[in-house]
């Protein structure tokens, strides 16, 4: 409705339609991720949930956070952090998977009497 309003010279204005579209998609995906927990997919459940979360996060970052229209440098900055986090988690998992079972016979120490 306000499409021909004058916007700023140095930034992109996202249309209401795009924002509402993304909002609808996010709502739908939230309900989907909730509903899918009632379906037993075994080990796949966590990956389905994470996949939906990644899609939702991508939508938020690209549209709500303007990454789609901004300088690509900001996207590079964000991705570099995400890659570092993934390396961090991946190596921590590999590492703890190697020794955790043998570190303490039986189990981790319980502090609850």
């Amino acid at each position: 409705m306000n499409k021909h309003h004058e916007g700023p010279a140095y930034a992109h204005v996202v249309s209401v339609r795009t924002l509402l579209g993304v909002f609808g998609a996010l709502m739908f995906l939230t309900i989907l991720t909730y509903a899918v927990t009632y379906v037993d997919l075994g080990a796949l459940n966590i990956w389905v949930a994470m996949g939906i979360a990644v899609v939702k996060g991508t939508l938020v970052a690209l549209v709500f956070m303007h990454l789609l229209w901004d300088k690509k440098f900001y996207a590079v900055v964000l991705m570099s952090a995400l890659v570092c986090v993934m390396i961090f988690i991946g190596i921590a998992l590999l590492d703890s998977g190697q020794y955790q079972a043998d570190l303490i016979p039986g189990y981790a120490p319980s502090i609850i009497p």
Binding site: H5, V14, F64, M65
Partner: protein
């Protein structure tokens, strides 16, 4: 101290700081700074997600058991509330860019309201956990013996574990843990390895695994830090609302709205991952 913008474009915006060439340059610098800050936030939460991943990979039965004490309807409701707030925040940025003063204030107020609802729901959840001893470390109260009557309060329906027997749920010795030396070091729990007890149990909890307090420690640190970020966001949005009431924002100067918006969307984004990881464990 005479003219701050001496020798510059006579159309220079009063919001243009003296060390920037133009509003565009000022905006880009601010935005870059904001993204660097958001990256440190990603790394901060990344450490917590790492702790989550390591503990879940090593003790899946704890997570499968303990997540039943979270209310996924309330968690889902909070997810929807945050998504609505992200929409209103994105709309607020748009309104600021277009100079729609009245709608800008409305959108900021709506975002603030959503944040309040989020924290209120979180408060209800925390209160429920506090009451039932679903807490971190030594504050955790073993469920089953104590939780059953408390459910009559009907605050939230949590499926209680079936085993209400006063026998140690891990099937271990009935000796007090003090008698077996440093707890867990006795090595008399051969069945306690990975995949024991409630591992993979959906909805129907087996006997409670040990060290359930680990889950609640992770839960409270992650949601608590996120809640602090929501609070900080509310302060920032309140500040925006005050400035918007003074009519400071418009097509030439909307950077603060945009940057707080970026922060708010990141807080939403973190919750998008926290929700399935904590509440929707299958």
């Amino acid at each position: 101290m005479s003219t701050p913008h001496e020798g510059r474009d006579e159309h220079a915006d009063p919001h243009l700081q003296h060390h920037f060439e133009s509003m565009a340059q000022q905006y880009d610098s601010g935005k870059f700074g904001m993204w660097l800050f958001l990256v440190t936030e990603v790394l901060l939460f990344g450490g917590l997600f790492c702790a989550y991943a390591v503990y879940r990979a090593n003790h899946p039965e704890i997570f499968a058991y303990a997540h039943q004490f979270l209310d996924k309807t309330l968690g889902g409701l909070n997810t929807l509330v945050l998504i609505v707030s992200s929409l209103t925040m994105a709309m607020a940025v748009r309104c600021a860019q277009l100079g729609q003063q009245r709608r800008l204030k409305q959108m900021l107020a709506a975002t603030l309201l959503c944040a309040c609802v989020f924290l209120a729901v979180k408060g209800v959840e925390y209160q429920h956990k506090w009451k039932h001893g679903l807490l971190w470390g030594t504050r955790y109260v073993a469920q089953g013996e104590t939780a059953a009557p408390a459910d009559a309060a009907g605050v939230v329906t949590t499926p209680e574990p079936a085993a209400a027997v006063p026998v140690p749920a891990d099937g271990g010795t009935t000796l007090p843990h003090a008698a077996t030396g440093p707890a867990g070091l006795a090595g008399d729990h051969p069945q306690d390895g990975h995949g024991a007890a409630a591992h993979g149990g959906h909805g129907s909890a087996g006997p409670a695994p040990r060290n359930v307090q680990l889950f609640f420690g992770i839960y409270f640190v992650m949601t608590g830090l996120h809640g602090i970020h929501v609070l900080a966001g509310m302060i920032a949005i309140g500040w925006l609302l005050r400035r918007a009431s003074a009519g400071e924002f418009g097509p030439q100067y909307f950077a603060p709205v945009d940057f707080v918006g970026l922060y708010w969307h990141l807080v939403d984004l973190i919750w998008i991952f926290l929700f399935p990881l904590l509440y929707l464990i299958h």
